[in-house]
């Protein structure tokens, strides 16, 4: 809500004689001259000098006295200070509204956060700070900060080199910060402002979005898209599976029992008049040779269109081996191989099957074969079946990979962002 602001009181700096504005009379304790940087006691009618400036003055990005509307409230910038923890530095603007009191606008160089002093203590539950039903995780260790530059008016005694110890607790979008010195402890809750929100409020140039070094309480830019794409992807994946189940049925169009002579010459069998009606369809050719024992059958298929003589070739190997060794008995091999033909046009077909069965003898003495096929030359019965339709598992897997690759990429980006956001915690463990 926009509220009227009080008139500004003009004072004269007792150090340099410059005119300085007192914007929050009655609340301000320290007044730092914006011309010479001298800290004055605003509670003293004579404006007693608390500390003289010993640093060159410079203008903050948002000038003192500037007004802007943030989250529905008109704020006036009354103070500005810069802090550092020895490494990174940041800026803090003290904002004032006569009805709302004070607020802080923090600028870490990338984004702005709006903070308010807490009038109650957060509770410590399950290893987290809790405030208004929301949990905040500890961010790194507590650290010492010192004021590097200050100008304007403040409701507390502030001066360059003032030191406080800070502990931060974060959740995406918010932060609770605890500042302690020898005499008091204050808690502040910060809300991260949207990109461009503070710039628009105070007439600054809009900053470029970049997430290489996120703030500890910065919400992941990928989170919403990850949730949306996961929901979309799951709906699509379920739809694909339903289509796969509905379209996975098959119909038997031919079946024949043939013989494969063991260690004999390859011979051909023809399964005639296979009718494939309707549209193009997948075809499954299955050879069932369950009497195989330490032997294999080479099966060459050739599906020939009777009208066009177009042929579709395929190969299958039925095999079964067993034996025993020092580890016990073993067996392996597929005696009922299936192969699938893709998109066979409708028509009348003959299936030419060439079979050759062979006995396997171990070349190694260490492998002892328990048995051979019964009868040295007895043929091995093989049942050939032809089924129209069916589903290719490879299609389903490829479809699921394509559908879920975007959520997977977003998940990767999201966790990468969260890792960068919380990286000081892993580099500098909690105390």
């Amino acid at each position: 809500m926009t509220t009227p602001l009080p008139s500004v009181r003009a004072l004269t700096c007792t150090s340099c004689g410059g005119t300085i504005a007192l914007r929050a009379a009655g609340s301000t304790v320290s007044l730092i001259c914006e011309h010479c940087g001298t800290t004055l006691d605003a509670t003293d009618p004579q404006l007693r000098i608390i500390a003289r400036a010993h640093a060159a003055m410079h203008r903050p990005l948002i000038a003192l006295g500037m007004r802007g509307v943030l989250r529905g409230t008109t704020w006036e910038v009354v103070g500005y200070l810069e802090r550092s923890d020895g490494g990174d530095g940041w800026s803090e603007y003290l904002l004032f509204n006569p009805y709302q009191g004070y607020a802080f606008l923090l600028d870490d160089g990338r984004r702005f956060s709006l903070g308010f002093l807490l009038d109650r203590l957060p509770s410590y539950t399950w290893g987290e700070m809790e405030l208004d039903g929301e949990g905040y995780k500890r961010f790194g260790s507590s650290y010492a900060t010192s004021v590097k530059f200050v100008v304007g008016e403040f409701y507390w005694r502030v001066a360059v080199d003032e030191r406080v110890r800070v502990s931060d607790y974060v959740r995406p979008g918010k932060m609770i910060s605890c500042e302690e010195n020898g005499s008091e402890r204050t808690w502040t809750r910060l809300w991260m402002l949207e990109w461009g929100e503070a710039e628009a409020a105070f007439g600054l140039e809009r900053r470029q979005r970049e997430w290489s070094r996120p703030s500890p309480h910065e919400p992941s830019p990928y989170r919403d898209r990850l949730i949306e794409s996961t929901i979309i992807g799951l709906i699509a994946a379920v739809t694909l599976l339903i289509v796969a189940i509905m379209g996975g049925g098959s119909t038997r169009v031919a079946s024949a029992d043939v013989q494969a002579a063991l260690d004999g010459a390859t011979h051909s069998e023809i399964i005639r008049d296979i009718e494939l009606p309707g549209r193009n369809a997948a075809l499954t050719l299955t050879a069932r040779a369950e009497q195989l024992d330490n032997s294999w059958v080479d099966i060459d298929y050739s599906l020939v269109n009777r009208r066009t003589q177009e042929n579709f070739d395929a190969y299958a190997l039925a095999e079964h081996y067993s034996g025993s060794d020092s580890d016990g008995s073993w067996s392996e091999g597929d005696s009922t191989p299936s192969i699938k033909l893709s998109s066979i046009p409708p028509g009348s077909y003959d299936l030419v099957v060439e079979l050759g069965a062979h006995r396997w003898i171990s070349p190694s003495r260490s492998l002892y074969i328990t048995s051979y096929a019964p009868g040295a030359s007895s043929p091995i019965p093989v049942t050939i079946t032809v089924d129209r339709g069916g589903m290719f598992a490879g299609n389903v897997i490829l479809g699921l990979i394509l559908l879920l690759i975007w959520p997977a990429i977003l998940l990767f980006l999201h966790f990468g962002f969260e890792q960068r956001r919380l990286s000081p915690v892993t580099e500098d463990d909690d105390e």
Partner: protein, 48 residues
């Protein structure tokens, strides 16, 4: 919904459409027909 999510939804519909088309026509790039698997170049058990 974000623009990327709308594009992704369109992509999903395209994938499902292709999948339905492939299912209706029995098409697959993974069909074994016409290939002779290299793993059967040698016969016999792989048991050691």
């Amino acid at each position: 919904m974000s623009k990327s999510s709308i594009l992704y939804a369109g992509f999903c519909m395209a994938v499902i459409g292709l999948f339905v088309f492939a299912t209706m026509n029995g098409f697959s790039p993974f069909a074994q027909g016409g290939t002779r698997s290299f793993v059967h170049a040698a016969y016999g058990p792989t048991h050691k």
